[in-house]
Symmetry: C2
Subunit: 225 residues, 2 copies
Amino acid sequence: MPKAKTPRRTGYHHGNLREVLIDAAVQLVEEGGPGNVSVREAAKRAGVSPGAPFRHFANKTALMTAVAEQAMSRFRSEITNAVESVATDDPIERFAAVGIAYLRWAIRNPTHFQVISTRSLIDWDSSESLRHDNEAVRALVEGSMVEAQRRNMLRSYDIAETQIAARALVYGLARMCIDGHFAQWAVAGHTAEQTAQDVLKHFVALIGNEPETAKKADLTLEHPD
Amino acid sequence: MPKAKTPRRTGYHHGNLREVLIDAAVQLVEEGGPGNVSVREAAKRAGVSPGAPFRHFANKTALMTAVAEQAMSRFRSEITNAVESVATDDPIERFAAVGIAYLRWAIRNPTHFQVISTRSLIDWDSSESLRHDNEAVRALVEGSMVEAQRRNMLRSYDIAETQIAARALVYGLARMCIDGHFAQWAVAGHTAEQTAQDVLKHFVALIGNEPETAKKADLTLEHPD
DNA sequence: AAATTATGTAATCACTGTTTACAATCCTGG
DNA sequence: CCAGGATTGTAAACAGTGATTACATAATTT
């Protein structure tokens, strides 16, 4: 009998190392951002040798991509749930709901949002799931946009550009929070999340057809940066 | 005579290693983005031992911060030059000029824009110069915004929110390009730069008071992502 | 039961940021 | 002008990283 050297782990072949590694990586992301993830540390936390992860992931990027897929799925759920639970069928309100849910998730899960939005960390093109979830969100925005135009609720006729502007605005707000451009800002009375939402609503009012735009005069926000 | 071990370099103490290291790091950034920078490689290119850089920079972040300062200075110059060489004194046109110059520089210097906008790479707070240049750009935007409001050229009364929206939009556009969210997009007829400019102009039209907004119906842009 | 395949380990490689002890050069005050 | 301290370089080391390799063990198929 060869007397197993380290029989500490039962069912020696671990069974579901892949999932455990992803969970460990998720935890590392939450603890200190994407930069805090190391394959070795994930392996250590899974109670496995440093080379073991490479039986399940071609490289670190593949592991990060799996983390991103998990995060993206939650991200998409939050958004689709939010828009489904919106009372009205007003397309502009539905559009706003998407943006607000987007910002809410991004600001509350900054490290994970960083993972799913920074392409250098992951292998976006190789992941069906990432593209699929992303497309679902995009389609949600486009759908409400098209419907809003059909009802003549938009100021501009060019929904393509309006849509890109909307995406860029929301993405920009999320990243400005995450990249730390709002240092002074969050210190002020308003939370970053609240302010981001206000700005989004401001934008929504701008694209709308209503002659009376948001005239809530001054929130006297500290200037960002 | 102790016969210098490696007298290959004249004026042995190199004279201006600090600048040479920054230049090497800049080159590395250009070659492969911020992730391509290593202190050791910069040292090698400067013809110096791996420990030498730490006589001039406390750590890698300090080196990257120096790189960022140089980039930020160019970034600011491009923007201030652009707005100064704008013919009209129309504040909204001046505002648009800032945004266009911003996008132009970011898209043409993506790796450097990544350096100056990703706070995890640099020590933003410790750099007077970074804050100063950033504030100059911000003030430029705010100035034109305030003036536009004074002339009653804006739709909304809340310039604070409009200003944040503008910043977020431009930042979002720049980062979407850089983070690779426009893959299919750039392949289409329009360059990323042209499209980003169009979207910016679209936004500028939206915030303006003119009843007739941009009605250039369809550019039939491929959808991003 | 034997052969094959999947999945782990151990050792190793090249590379990274950073620190330490030491050496060479420069600068300045007597 | 030169003694001595401050600068600024080197060499060697350390711990950590992603990744590969040869090998061992467990699960699975034949």
